[in-house]
Symmetry: C2
Subunit: 671 residues, 2 copies
């Protein structure tokens, strides 16, 4: 035999590579770089699967994660769920075969979309400890549970069942995953605990119990008993179709006519739009889809994409929603007690490459958050916390591109992560998240995503700015108030004594300097659980008719009683309002609130509005927004009109030197 030529030699080395071999060798791509990250990734893949399965089966998720010491540098991870369970015949492939799953081909929002995650954990466990994974699963319709010990045949990317038994299990349905792996347990920013905390924030319907290797047990209780709505499956939208994909859809279609294929197998294509595109591209509507090929495919897709089709429906998405974002953050932040929860921002759904997505942003400020460090950024994709690769993520990039100095946070040079006592939550929900790698830790740069995240962040930042300027206004007002309360009476008394007259009533002077209506919500307290109180004080120099408005989560509304009773309510929207008696200068009135459960009175969830006084003379409440469709009493309307004119001077008889204080107050008010 002649010696091999170079080309033959090179050809002899060519071989197929199994996807399991590939990922075994490149395990850093899947998030198994080192023992501590491998542990986190394992917990994450198991819990994400449990949440997906429970939600699909409409079960309120109940998950238990235990990390226990094994040998040396090994830990044993056990994740238990109350999900629907997995049929015996599917267990080996689901847990011991990469690129196998139920969610890849569906256009629907899910945590797992790749069919890689949990099998990768099984692969890593076997690689580092040579021990099989133990899977126990029970479905409701069978008596017994199946327990399988599984390994992956790396060269074939196929499961090997090492051992198997059927057993009785004390639960109606559910799955347990047990893995022993080379791992290191840490707490901190990139840890299983942090991942579970983040998961609890954006999945307030899940109950999660976590047992650490030292036996410490941490429970994240549910903040809601309501399951998120099931995200629906959607069809591909023409805007996101590449030519090759469209050609594939046509050639594999079983529809009798292209018209039917376009209207039934694509999203948002009406019969009208389909006919228009077919006409524009010169294709008869009755042509069988398979018969369209070559340039005709291209013309047809171009015509569809040139039309202005509706955006894909957002009912395939499951955003968290403002109420639950706020509640989730509050639930988990606990001890930190931030002073301000910005109203969470939910952007309308958009389309990126044919896939709908939604951006949500939550922002909290102050309280126990550190003042001199970069803000905390919590990134989430499809309700999963992203803990690694922050620097490579489109979310981080969007945050860093905003000039936060304009919104009241420190930031070197106007870019990068701002510094201050703030925490930002950014959630992107989509039927397809463009991750930078299979480890699903960072979102790839994309102009559409960047734009939506930026808009949402700016909206949240504007709330922060308003809060900070109100806070400084309030601080200034209370400083002014204190000065007035302390100095004016002294001055008055001194002056009166000098001239030998009785001390005059200072109300007109004080109100003229203060010139503000204050609204304060207090309670509940330990002394008075379930009791709240709204106090309105008229520190202006004129008697005022006022209308007070309260808005709170509609679910909370029926739990509350008010005294005096509201003038009107709209329980569906969670709204109540009161026409207050005309308040004289220095006059005060209060509304008492009583709740069935103490927890229902949560000042962070109560929004207060006032009509009858303009924003610059209002503290502790906002002017009534334009979208409240209520009829205001005539007195209020008149008062609002009169507010444009300056009040008539009815102080002035007293010669008290308050000009300096007032002047400086005026200047500050103009800021």
């Amino acid at each position: 035999m002649p010696p091999l030529t170079i080309a033959q030699e090179l050809a002899a080395k060519q071989r197929e590579i199994s996807v399991a071999e590939f990922f075994e060798r490149n395990r850093q791509i899947l998030g198994f770089d080192n023992p501590s990250r491998a542990l986190l990734t394992t917990v994450k893949e198991a819990v994400d699967n449990s949440l997906d399965a429970a939600e699909e089966a409409r079960i309120l998720p109940e998950i238990r994660v235990e990390i226990a010491k094994d040998d040396n540098d090994r830990l044993r991870v056990t994740v238990d769920d109350n999900g629907p369970g997995i049929l015996r015949r599917e267990i080996p492939n689901v847990f011991a075969r990469l690129l196998y799953g139920s969610r890849f081909h569906a256009h629907r929002q899910a945590r797992g979309q790749q069919g890689i995650g949990i099998s990768a954990a099984v692969l890593y466990a076997a690689l580092t400890t040579a021990r099989p994974a133990t899977i126990t699963s029970k479905v409701a319709e069978e008596e017994g549970a199946h327990r399988l010990d599984l390994l992956i045949d790396v060269h074939k990317n196929a499961p090997t069942v090492v051992r198997e038994e059927v057993l009785l299990w004390d639960r109606p349905h559910g799955t347990r995953v047990e893995l022993t792996l080379k791992a290191r347990y840490v707490r901190g920013r990139q840890s299983p605990l942090e991942y579970l905390r983040g998961t609890a924030i954006v999945n307030p319907h899940a109950r999660i119990v976590f047992v650490e290797p030292d036996g410490t047990r941490i429970t994240f209780e549910r903040a809601t008993e309501e399951l998120p709505p099931v995200p629906k499956e959607t069809l591909p939208h023409p805007y996101g179709l590449e030519l090759g994909e469209f050609a594939g859809l046509l050639s594999q279609s079983r529809r009798p006519s292209v018209l039917e294929m376009l209207t039934r197998d694509l999203a948002c294509v009406s019969v009208r739009a389909a006919r228009a595109a077919l006409e524009a591209s010169g294709t008869p509507p009755t042509t069988p889809p398979k018969a369209i090929a070559g340039p005709a495919v291209e013309r047809l897709l171009a015509a569809l994409q040139a039309d202005s089709l509706p955006s894909p429906s957002a009912d395939c998405l499951s955003p968290i929603g403002p109420v639950l974002i706020k509640r989730g953050l509050r639930n988990v932040l606990g001890e930190i007690r931030p002073e301000f929860f910005a109203p969470p921002v939910s952007r309308p759904p958009r389309v990126r490459a044919g896939f709908p997505f939604v951006v949500e942003v939550g922002l909290v400020y102050g309280g126990g958050l550190p003042v001199d460090q970069p803000i905390q950024l919590l990134r989430f994709a499809n309700r999963v916390p992203l803990l690694f690769q922050q620097g490579a993520c489109a979310i981080t990039n969007a945050v860093a591109q905003i000039d936060w100095r304009r919104y009241g946070l420190d930031q070197k040079g106007g870019s990068g992560l701002p510094v201050g006592p703030a925490l930002l939550l950014v959630h992107i929900a989509s039927t397809k998240i463009p991750f930078t790698s299979e480890a699903k830790e960072a979102i790839a740069e994309d102009p559409e995503i960047d734009r939506e995240v930026t808009l949402a962040l700016q909206a949240a930042a504007r709330h922060l700015k308003t809060h900070l300027s109100r806070k400084s206004r309030r601080a200034f007002a209370s400083e002014k108030f204190e000065i007035i309360q302390r100095i004016l009476p002294q001055l008055a008394e001194k002056t009166s004594r000098l001239v030998g007259k009785p001390v005059p009533d200072l109300t007109p002077v004080i109100t003229r300097i203060m010139d503000v209506v204050t609204v304060e919500l207090t309670g509940p307290s330990d002394a008075a659980p379930g009791q709240g109180r709204i106090e309105v004080t008229n520190y202006t120099p004129r008697a005022r008719p006022l209308e007070l408005f309260l808005e709170l989560p509609p679910a909370t509304f029926p739990q509350l009683t008010f005294s005096p009773a509201p003038t009107g309510t709209d329980p569906d929207l969670g709204r109540a309002w009161w026409t207050l008696d005309r308040l004289p200068p220095n006059g005060r009135t209060a509304i008492a609130i009583a709740a069935a459960k103490p927890a229902e009175i949560d000042p962070g969830e109560f929004d207060l509005y006032v009509a009858g006084v303009d924003e610059s003379h209002l503290l502790g409440a906002d002017p009534l927004p334009g979208d409240w469709d209520v009829r205001l009493p005539r007195a209020i309307v008149e008062a609002a009109e009169a507010a444009a004119e300056p009040p008539k001077t009815d102080a002035g008889e007293e010669e008290v030197d308050y000009d300096a204080a007032e002047a400086s107050a005026r200047v500050a008010d103009d800021d």
Copy 2:
């Protein structure tokens, strides 16, 4: 039939996912996020393959890349190489099947290791334009070339040959890849041009021609005719083996005894080490490898890993080497003409998870590099430029962690990319690079890699610091020189006129103030190409015997002639030296250099050393390093000894007021 239960419903959706489907949907992971990045990735994958194949076949690579306009938003990419060609039977799998290749299973340094790259480009092209890839390839042993039009069957991850012909081709061997894809051509930091420029820097043995869409032709000529040595294949090193891998090696081994398996199938395990480990773990050396299982495997691996085995040999690696790093940078930087090329740093090979790796760093400073911007960081892995994901890369992280202020660059807060007119090249060569994703754009964090990169960067940074302090010393000396040359004669003349005496000889005074020996290398210039000159001037107050040493690339040495002739030479090391005539104060001598080719005289490649004067009295050259094994003339040795004592004052007869100038000079010298 009863309705499906939930578990059955979920099970019915479970499906296998082909790796081609997976990457078609997640193309951002492979670097096909958007039309401009997709273009760069396509060029990169094709060129990397061409370089790998040419080098394996020991052919000096000659590559032509053309990007031409096609329809609308489409470009046609053609990459031609002079490689060995590919056998007809391998062409479909190599270009139209993901996870197929020759380099994945070999423990050897290569650009492509995954078997994904070029097939991903073919997949993307078909997806966006529905057009097949055209591959033409000819091997030396066949008359004709094969031309195939290929598509990928996405559901099967298998090639489809659409068209095929055999043709005559006007070259002995080589491959052409032609692809039409949705793409956008840009220049700038993340562009095909920048990728090819970077490739030329670290592959100075390749000739690359690039034709842009507007017809502009850019050629990167070779900077060397020498191919890098072939990286050898290596065996797995015990330090990097996971238990699961080791168990696999044992169970699949065909060796008769475990002793033989350990010493033949693993790297760096001697018979002694193998016997010791077998004894420590209680396994008889004659046991067949397959017979070892369970805890015995674990004990054996632990025993091997506990031994101090030698590091894997570096001959499986192909670092660029200091000479070619410098030449590559010089070749490509061209117009920028940096003022300083730090001696490139090559760290000794290290092991990470059983894979050897080497870190190299080049640093240039000044010239046309921008002063007020972050430094340019050129990252390379196995001679491939990394252009994306800079923020997620271990190299960037290592650069950002160094406090560059200590080495003379600006840096906010002592971390992050420093600011200044510098360019850093960092190259990591390894049999396995831990990339963060299949796009191979960033290296994952790893403590070993981080440590090596940091050490290499620090070494380069120290060179920079020395350069900058020398530069400021030189600037100070020339300022001093100017002042002395201008003011002293004026003073002397004035004073002489006043006292009516002749102007004295100022040499003793001037040399006492200057107190330095200067060495200057000039040329070649346009007026005198191929001519260089070394000038030595003794601005010290005492006559000096001096020895001058020159070191340059050994390859250049034979091309040069010197006048006067050197006292001695060592051509193998590229060294020559001269015993200079005793130079009186203010005395000067010169050595003329003539080169066969003008380009051979490159001041950046000449290192000058002087013996006979200590470092603080030397400008433009360094003191002779300790590793030069030359015998110095006795006069030089004595002079060096005498240098410790201060020179006797032999000026002083003249009453010239130079104290102020001298005092300030002295102070500065002490710095």
